[in-house]
């Protein structure tokens, strides 16, 4: 924690805060009926996306999941263009073709959210293969849900990455559930043992604790970049909202959600830690809060007012040439 300078801390907070406010706001806006499609909110898991992506550079890649807003923001996607995308408007990051579940910005190394559970890990291997083949020094990082750990593609990718000694990092975010099904039920055995069995270097971190995530990420990314082969990081974390907006989360035990929100909020914990250690004061943090609030207000405002895409877009960009 002490190794991080104030600018870095501010940056970490800003990003986590941006994700949180982005998601909180979508939670409020979604019932109003202006956002066309469903959204899977990342609130509660911010420390994971930010802790890892702050250890990545421009030449590094991330492949995400259906719950992709946090990863996208952390990997540097334009927040306003993301909002427009979710609103299905012109100026959307994917020209309103993809929506929440397909947010991507290849120029930022963000290879896309993915509507297919387990769709991402093979793409991670591919991006890592590019880095290795072209000797760019880059690494590719894949976020994986606990539910996705059951998909064949995930395990195929672990093996493939290990066989080809790819510079790939797989981050398993165990937020306790895949839809309404607990990971304690659907994920047998122990995923860290599995990853070891596939020949990956394994790490663990608590996803509520930004500093733990950051340090583990630094180590996993550093060793992977150094050519030590692919790594696997298990992170226990929690999502604050339902699987999708509208999910009543009745599969949670009584008081479970309150407990999580109270005791495992990565933003509160971060704030407590940095203020206690007198590294940042409420004034600096409050300034960030206000800046983020303005950014998200503007993003929603601009998205709401942005024009819809022209109908001619329907048949555009299927092919480059046909």
């Amino acid at each position: 924690m002490l190794q991080l300078n104030r600018d870095t801390l501010i940056e970490a907070y800003r990003q986590m805060r941006t994700i949180r406010v982005f998601e909180d706001r979508l939670h409020l806006e979604r019932p109003r009926g202006i956002i066309p499609g469903g959204v899977h909110l990342y609130a509660g898991q911010e420390a994971v996306a930010v802790g890892f992506c702050m250890n990545l550079g421009e030449g590094d890649y991330v492949a995400s999941t259906h719950r992709g807003h946090g990863h996208s923001i952390a990997k540097g996607c334009d927040v306003k263009a993301m909002m427009k995308e979710i609103y299905g408007r012109q100026g959307g990051l994917c020209n309103a073709k993809g929506g929440s579940m397909h947010i991507a910005d290849i120029s930022k190394g963000m290879l896309g959210a993915n509507g297919i559970v387990g769709g991402g890990p093979p793409l991670v291997c591919g991006a890592a293969l590019t880095a290795k083949t072209l000797k760019t020094g880059g690494v590719a990082l894949g976020f994986i849900g606990d539910g996705a750990s059951s998909q064949g593609t995930t395990n195929e990718s672990f093996n493939l990455a290990a066989v080809l000694k790819l510079p790939a990092v797989f981050v398993l975010e165990d937020n306790g559930f895949g839809e309404g099904t607990p990971s304690s039920y659907a994920v047998a055995g122990n995923v860290v043992t599995r990853a070891e069995g596939f020949g990956l270097r394994t790490y663990e971190a608590d996803g509520a604790d930004f500093f733990a995530v950051y340090e583990t990420a630094a180590e996993a990314v550093r060793t992977t970049r150094a050519g030590e082969g692919p790594a696997f990081v298990y992170v226990r974390c929690d999502r604050f909202y339902g699987h999708f907006e509208g999910d009543a989360q009745t599969y949670r035990g009584p008081g479970e959600l309150d407990d999580v929100r109270q005791n495992r909020d990565p933003l509160s914990l971060f704030r407590a830690r940095v203020t206690e250690a007198a590294l940042l004061g409420d004034d600096r943090l409050g300034a960030v809060d206000r800046e983020v609030a303005t950014l998200i207000d503007e993003a929603v405002e601009e998205a709401t007012n942005a024009p819809k895409p022209p109908l001619s877009d329907l048949t555009k960009d299927v092919y480059i040439s046909y």
């Binding site: 066309p36 397909h102 819809k308 109908l311 329907l314």
Partner: protein
């Protein structure tokens, strides 16, 4: 007769068949929801509530929440079917067939043939299709042509609550592997459905509108749109016969051919992508077996050769509409 929605009828049929036959089990992702959790069981009943309530009556041995492993659990359903159960597996969205199709098309569909007729695979796969929910390219497709292409599979696409009950009952009792497609936007479609069980045989089309001028063969949700178009065209003086094949494999070729022989004109409507589709299949059937009856070129009203876009206006433009169907009918009327 009681009015019921497609959603209700699915649950009711599953329950009825499970009561009737102890070897019927249902399995899929979150078809219960909350299995093993500290909260409520049956938290989901599937993402559209179609299996809600089954766990209470039949328990976790027969209503099984699976891990997110479509190849694993659909293959398991196949293996279970091969050895004495009668599983109903739910593939949450048919868009996901790409992760599990081997178990469907190389295993379930072919085991009987490859084993020389010495295997029985009474597997039912329930799955969802269709655009219109603003869910973009990977949650909005209608890939039933791929299933129809495969020898050994039967493919069922019900378009009313009445048909859903009769066809799903038949699917579960059928000794061949059957894939049932449910449209995400049709769960609230409501009609008269008897409480008692009945089956509708596969390969028997349903005529949902009658008229002398043009035959419209429509698939799935497009039957509703075709009926709408036909009603409108009737007021314009154009008579349409709307044919709902109900199952694309087997396909009721006779009814389609008879209708085209009566009307002399054919419009095929399919919300799937246009290449190598059920629409081209039906057009080719007629062009080869009812050619002499045709007075005008066959018109195909389909989605364009594009993925499903996210933005509402684009997605609406992607889906064939009653207006586009009516326009195609008018074209074949003008054309001959």
């Amino acid at each position: 007769m009681p009015r019921k929605t497609i959603r209700q009828v699915i649950t009711e049929t599953l329950a009825a068949e499970m009561r009737r036959d102890p070897t019927v089990i249902v399995m899929g992702e979150d078809i219960v929801g909350g299995t093993g959790s500290k909260g409520q069981l049956d938290a989901w009943g599937g993402p559209f509530g179609t299996t809600k309530g089954l766990i209470a009556e039949f328990g976790p041995e027969r209503v099984i929440d699976t891990p997110i492993s479509e190849a694993g659990f659909i293959g398991a359903a196949t293996g279970a079917a091969l050895t004495g159960l009668r599983p109903v597996a739910e593939l949450m969205f048919s868009d996901f067939f790409g992760v599990c199709f081997d178990q469907i098309y190389n295993q379930a569909a072919k085991l009987r043939y490859m084993f020389g007729g010495r295997a029985v695979t009474p597997l039912t796969i329930r799955t969802r299709y269709g655009a219109g929910t603003r869910s973009a390219s990977q949650h909005s497709q209608s890939p039933y042509s791929v299933f129809t292409h495969v020898p050994g599979l039967k493919v069922v696409i019900p378009t009313s609550a009445y048909d859903m009950k009769g066809l799903l009952t038949q699917a579960i009792r059928d000794d061949d592997p059957v894939v049932v497609f449910e449209h995400k936007k049709m769960y609230d479609v409501e009609d008269d459905v008897p409480d008692d069980s009945y089956t509708i045989p596969f390969g028997e089309a349903n005529i949902t509108h009658e008229g002398d001028d043009v035959t419209i063969v429509a698939i799935g949700r497009m039957v509703l749109f075709a009926n709408e178009a036909a009603a409108k065209l009737e007021r314009e003086g154009i008579g349409c016969t709307v044919v709902d094949p109900r199952t694309t494999s087997p396909l009721d070729e006779d009814t389609i051919i008879e209708c085209v022989e009566d009307t002399g004109r054919l419009v095929v409507v399919d919300e799937a992508n246009p290449r190598c589709s059920v629409a081209t299949d039906i057009a080719a059937l007629v062009a080869s077996k009812a050619f002499r009856a045709l007075k005008a070129p066959i018109e195909l009203v389909t989605a364009p050769h594009t993925p499903v876009p996210y933005a509402p206006d684009l997605e609406d433009a992607y889906i064939p509409s009653p207006e586009k169907i009516a326009a195609a009918v008018r074209r074949v009327m003008e054309d001959g």
